[in-house]
């Protein structure tokens, strides 16, 4: 019997999952307008293939992949292309986006299509179908899934780990996915095992989701070596490298990819999205989003068409409470505060958390007292206190030498800091400054 080995360091923030953990997934009505940014995934932005005035059906391709590390984008509702122009993006910049006016009378059924049968396809054909389906990592980073399914030849992959940790507070979308559609998630796992030629898969789920663990165990096929592994509850267990350590006991070396230790990690949502391609033939045009927090009147887990504006999504959830102070995309640990509620939900949006002033911590920043709590919290064994000092002095090169690249901005250091020092924010802009220096340039 496999036992969770856990990982070292990390923190235990209040979970706040009780608001939405028991709420069944519901489908939100189609909004009046859909905004599909061409940059929703890691890699090259997609290239639009429609022009203003074109009519598109639900599931039609509106933008094609630009290269291998890129995915196409599909219309999440039937309608007319109103505009292809700059639009506010949830990362705080503006991005080119295809704006659709949704046809209010459309039946919103996709066009008739041929659904491929994956058993009859070669791994390369399945990978192509996954790319054509626009599938990306649904855990937040939005890295194209087909790239992860095509590991370089020199690495022998022996295990697929399915990430059901969902360690971010408030978020319950993966939880509900596993509790309500374990069959689809496991079908996705089966397809991935076929593609990668892997004999062993492990689904890691934190113990605070007993119904999801039970549902997955009940649906687990007996002909394959798939283990449902309950994990102790700790943040940031859902981080790829932490999860690998918790499941296999192996630490991924600094600067190396998980595949270098023979492991590929996929999110449960991505597994379900892969299964959906071969089940209904639909590309990734909608995703499950948790809307939660004190500042939202009717929290829930919703199936949201990709490209729904935040304001429309929040309206469906009863709107904002009068004392709502901050809208965050993602969870409160790693999520990014939003300036513009016209920005749309993208493929990587796991949740929308609305905090009130009462649920936020004081903002007064005190000097570092060198208590060392951030060192005990950092899951990748950096020295956040020292790095923070260097960031304040803009000594980015010294930070790079102290392995800033290993920081995944999990926010554990900021969370434990008794002086309220916004350490992970400092690291975020230091990383941006280093990227700018490296000549990669800021995203347009």
């Amino acid at each position: 019997m496999l036992e969770s080995l856990g990982f070292r360091h990390g923190v235990h923030p209040p979970e706040h999952k009780e608001r939405t953990a028991a709420l069944p997934i519901r489908r939100m009505p189609f909004p009046d307008e859909i905004v599909l940014p061409l940059r929703q995934h890691a890699g090259n932005p997609a290239r639009p293939v429609v022009k203003v005035g074109d009519h598109v059906e639900r599931g039609d391709k509106v933008a094609e992949a630009d290269g291998f590390v890129s995915v196409p984008i599909h219309a999440s509702a039937a309608g007319t292309v109103a505009d292809i122009d700059w639009w506010p993006h949830i990362d705080g910049t503006s991005a080119m986006a295809v704006r659709l006016t949704v046809d209010p009378h459309a039946i919103q059924l996709p066009r008739p299509r041929v659904i491929p049968h994956w058993e009859g396809l070669t791994p390369a054909q399945v990978i192509q179908a996954v790319q054509d389906g626009g599938v990306v990592g649904l855990g937040g980073a939005a890295f194209p899934t087909h790239v992860k399914l095509s590991p370089p030849r020199e690495f022998a992959v022996h295990t697929i780990i399915i990430n059901g940790a969902e360690c971010e507070p408030y978020l319950t979308s993966d939880h509900r996915t596993m509790a309500e559609m374990p069959g689809r998630v496991l079908a996705g796992v089966r397809i991935m095992m076929h593609v990668l030629g892997v004999k062993r898969a492990v689904v890691g789920i934190e113990r605070n989701k007993p119904d999801a663990i039970a549902a997955m165990q009940a649906a687990c096929p007996t002909d394959l070596d798939i283990t449902i592994l309950p994990l102790t509850v700790k943040y940031p267990q859902g981080a790829e490298k932490m999860l690998i350590e918790a499941v296999t006991g192996v630490e991924v070396p600094s600067g190396k990819l998980p595949v270098s230790v023979g492991v590929v990690v996929q999110n449960v949502g991505s597994a379900a999205a892969i299964a959906e391609i071969f089940e209904t033939g639909l590309p990734l045009i909608e995703r499950i989003v948790t809307v939660s927090g004190d500042g939202v009147r009717k929290p829930g887990n919703l199936i949201v068409p990709v490209g729904t504006k935040l304001i429309d999504l929040l309206d469906v959830c009863g709107g904002l409470a009068p004392d709502a102070a901050e809208v965050i995309i993602g969870g409160p640990m790693m999520g990014v505060a939003q300036a513009n509620l016209d920005a749309p939900v993208t493929k990587g949006t796991t949740g929308v958390v609305v905090l009130t002033t009462a649920s936020m911590r004081g903002e007064t920043v005190y000097p570092c007292i060198h208590c060392g709590r951030c060192l005990d919290a950092c899951p990748v064994f950096l020295n956040p206190s020292l790095l923070g000092d260097l960031a304040r002095k803009q000594r980015y090169d010294a930070m790079a030498e102290l392995h800033l690249a290993d920081c995944m901005l999990c926010g554990s250091c900021s969370y434990v800091c008794p002086s309220n020092i916004p350490l992970s924010q400092q690291f975020a802009f230091s990383k941006a400054a280093l990227r700018k220096r490296a000549g990669a340039g800021a995203p347009a």
Binding site: D85, W86, P88, D91, G92, T93, S94, V336, A337, Q338, A339, N340, E363, V365, Q394, P422, Q425, Q426, A428, F429, A432, A433, K436, R437, A442
Partner: protein, 279 residues
């Protein structure tokens, strides 16, 4: 006994003294004394704005004749003349370069969409939802450039825009690196025509974000000499290679005053009353 040691030590010392004297004669590298003199005359700011690694390197290049004294961006004209006179060369055309901000969206004209609370730094704010300004290209006004400027040439005005003091600016480019929105450019002070906007949204929609944004209407393109100004991806672009054709008439019909004719400091005077949009 004492005499013996004095003789030995004295002899050793004398031998080495002769060796050193010979080596000094034989191995001497001749150093142009003018390099030291010119380096003394230079401002010793070591800012690198001339493109050379520091003032000493500039002095070597100036003595070698590969760089004209006027290329030093920090010295005043008298200083340049003094160096030129000392070396007996032409001072070269003085082409002072300064930093200019491609944004005029101060707090009085640009919309702030959300309140930013956090580290008082543009880079930090840009990492959180872009800083909350309506225009995602615009100046955040948190003075990273002022902090970065080692010459104290940048001050923030009442509208939250950095004002570059042209006399102290050395065009070293530190503000260009510091700005997370890439708003600063280094350009010749003699170039007067300038577009104070980077917003790529075309059309009047952009005015909801900022009253002084470039709407890419193209009036300046028509009014300027052919080929001087073009409109590409939502913003007017001036071809500075054709800048001899520049003329203040180009800005006459700009509805938002995003293209300006700069004589001196940017944002020097109070903003004139809003012009009619139907011009």
């Amino acid at each position: 006994m004492i005499l013996q040691s004095v003789l030995i030590l004295g002899g050793v010392g004398f031998t080495f003294a002769i060796l050193i004297a010979l080596a000094n004669k034989k191995l001497k590298v001749w150093d142009d004394p003018r390099i030291e003199a010119v380096a003394e005359m230079l401002p010793q700011a070591n800012c690198g704005a001339c493109g050379l690694p520091g003032c000493r390197a500039f002095a070597e290049a100036a003595v070698a004749g590969t760089v004209a004294p006027a290329k030093c961006n920090v010295m005043n004209p008298e200083g340049i003349a003094a160096v030129a006179a000392y070396l007996g060369v032409e001072a070269g055309a003085i082409d002072r370069k300064v930093a200019r901000l491609r944004c005029a969206g101060g707090t009085d004209v640009a919309v702030q969409q959300a309140e930013y609370r956090g580290l008082p730094s543009c880079a930090a704010a840009a990492a959180v939802a872009g800083g909350g300004k309506g225009c995602t290209w615009g100046c955040l006004g948190l003075a990273d450039c002022k902090v970065a400027c080692s010459f104290g040439a940048i001050s923030m005005n009442a509208q939250g825009l950095p004002v570059v003091d042209l006399a102290t600016c050395t065009a070293c480019g530190d503000c260009v690196t510091a700005c997370p929105k890439d708003l600063f450019v280094i350009m010749s002070e003699s170039q007067h025509l300038f577009v104070q906007c980077r917003n790529l949204i075309a059309g009047d929609d952009v005015l909801a974000q900022c009253r002084v944004a470039c709407t890419a209407c193209g009036r300046c393109v028509q009014d300027a000499a052919p080929g001087l100004i073009s409109v590409a991806s939502g913003v007017a672009i001036i071809d500075y290679d054709a800048a001899l054709l520049a003329d203040p008439r180009a800005i006459a019909r700009c509805p938002t005053q995003s293209i300006v004719w700069l004589e001196g400091v940017q944002f020097a005077e109070a903003r004139p009353a809003e012009r009619s949009m139907s011009a």
